[in-house]
């Protein structure tokens, strides 16, 4: 009995520590936008809307959020469609050296999407006339996310039973119909996870848009955030916190929606 009580106390203490660790850094984001003249200190807000009014007058702040929506939605759609098709093909058809290929691409993607490939990607974009093109940026971002997406989705595909596909085939369904009507419903939580992952990745990506979009009217929120804090050399905390909150809300809503509708988790996880 004592052991049980101690166990309970230990469990809730750990949970409390965890909650504190993950909550405390977020406090500033929910208090500062509603405080007049915010500092780095977390204070009880005086519930002013002045910061939001000031942000509305900023010419690029709100449009940049729309640009972020376009970039993330476009990339997520391409990543999900192309990765699902490729992962399905790689999962169902045995290809010599398939696993080595997947790992090689995964390895490349983790390096090349970072700072290492900035220069070649910039040169490539210039050559292909993709500078200042949101569509070009979407293609580049898609290329960077695809290997990890295929890798994760292939695992979902591997663990779905193949008997459904066999029966669908007996009834004369074409491979594309099988993918659409049999495989996609089975791996829907996986597709949702990949979509959220892709959106969150692009939504927060600063380097690529900073490098490839020089037109301030096309720049997404990640780039605009940095113009808010270099103006006059000092960070404009009221603008920054308010913009930060608006910039964060869409991904939070998306997560809540997806986790309610599809369940936000890895079914079965990634084994290899």
């Amino acid at each position: 009995m004592t052991r049980f009580v101690l166990g309970r106390i230990g469990f809730y203490t750990l949970i409390a520590v965890l909650l504190a660790f993950f909550t405390v850094p977020l406090l500033w984001l929910v208090t500062a936008p509603f405080t007049s003249d915010p500092t780095y200190e977390v204070r009880v807000p005086d519930f002013t809307w002045d910061n939001f009014a000031a942000l509305l007058e900023h010419p690029y702040a709100l449009p940049s959020l729309w640009n972020s929506v376009v970039l993330s939605a476009g990339t997520a759609v391409l990543v999900v469609i192309f990765a699902a098709l490729a992962a399905y093909a790689l999962s169902r058809v045995r290809l010599p050296g398939r696993d080595a290929l997947l790992y090689a691409l995964l390895l490349l993607s983790s390096i090349i999407t970072g700072t290492a490939a900035m220069v070649p990607l910039f040169q490539l974009a210039v050559e292909l006339n993709l500078i200042d093109s949101q569509f070009g940026l979407i293609l580049i971002l898609t290329g960077g996310l695809l290997p990890a997406a295929i890798f994760m989705l292939k695992d979902f595909m591997d663990s779905t039973p193949k008997s459904y596909e066999e029966s669908a085939r007996v009834f004369g369904a074409s491979p594309l119909q099988i993918v659409r009507d049999v495989v996609v419903p089975l791996v829907r939580p996986g597709l949702a996870t990949i979509a959220v992952w892709a959106v969150a990745n692009v939504w927060g990506n600063f380097l690529m848009p900073y490098l490839l979009l020089s037109d301030v009217e096309k720049q997404p929120a990640a780039v605009i955030t940095y113009t808010l804090y270099t103006e006059g050399g000092q960070a404009n905390l009221s603008m920054l916190s308010t913009f930060g909150l608006l910039y964060s809300i869409p991904v939070v809503l998306m997560y809540l929606f997806v986790s309610k509708k599809y369940g936000f988790r890895f079914h079965g996880g990634i084994k290899r």
Binding site: A86, L107, G114, P120, P175, V179, T225, V251
Partner: protein, 310 residues
Amino acid sequence: MAQATSPPETRPEDEAQAPRYSSDAAGLGKARAGAFAAPALLLIAVFLVFPALWVLYLGLTNYRLTGTAAAEPQFVGLDNLLDAVSNPTFWSSTWLTVQFVLGSAVIGQVGLGFAIAWLLRDRRGPLKRVVEGLVILAWILPSAIVSFLWVALLDRDGGTLNALLGLPGFAWLLDHPMLSIIVFNTWRGTAFSMMLYGAALGNVPPSHLESARLAGASGWQQLRDVVFPHIRGHILTNLLLISLWTFNDFSPFLLTAGGPDGKSEVLAVHVYKVALQSGELGYGAAVSTIILLINLVVAVFYLRLLRSKK
């Protein structure tokens, strides 16, 4: 039918590389499998493989952002690589990166992620949803905002952490830059491991755990003898992904900008500094090549472990 399902990008080369075996459940066949994979492979080839090869080439030149070497870069062979390995800054960056990966990825994210998944494994209801939601929130918020939140949290004068600990004026980012970015990255990335282990633990047959418990195994013994063997593949794949992602993570720059005095200049930040801030693109590309090689070694190490003792 093959025509109708082929995306327009499909070219004969792709079909030539398609699989030899065609006996699969959905009757995909090699041509259609190739067609299915073609759009993804095309984008990967153009925007990933090509730039990577280009980095390898740039590393062999003296290409610079400005000056004469910008217009007509000269081929300098292995000079950049030799410069890098004789440069103490490069080695200190490498060592800091090792600390960063071990501290924030292997111990921080994987340890904490597994601990949360294990604590909440039999739970349903609001407590689980709140804990998981907060952890995932830290993962999906934009890095520009998150890094700013941590600058505010760790601020010397008004920062929440100093207020909570009663340490006014303690400069975390200056006095403990590595500790700061390690804890930051743990906070930032734990969600992925937590979700992966959450799913993996769901695959451990409850009957095995039950029999272990009946045989009198302690919590630790259950973990070691029943749980770990079952999720070994998950652990290694997770370690592989997390290590590579952390190795190439640029976000420490947003917190400390590599400083003070390069004390938190991990390799990703080092490349940015030499390539874009100093304009030595060739040398930066050579360092990128070395990063690529180190990542390859890390990946092969994990894959070996994964293969052995299946």
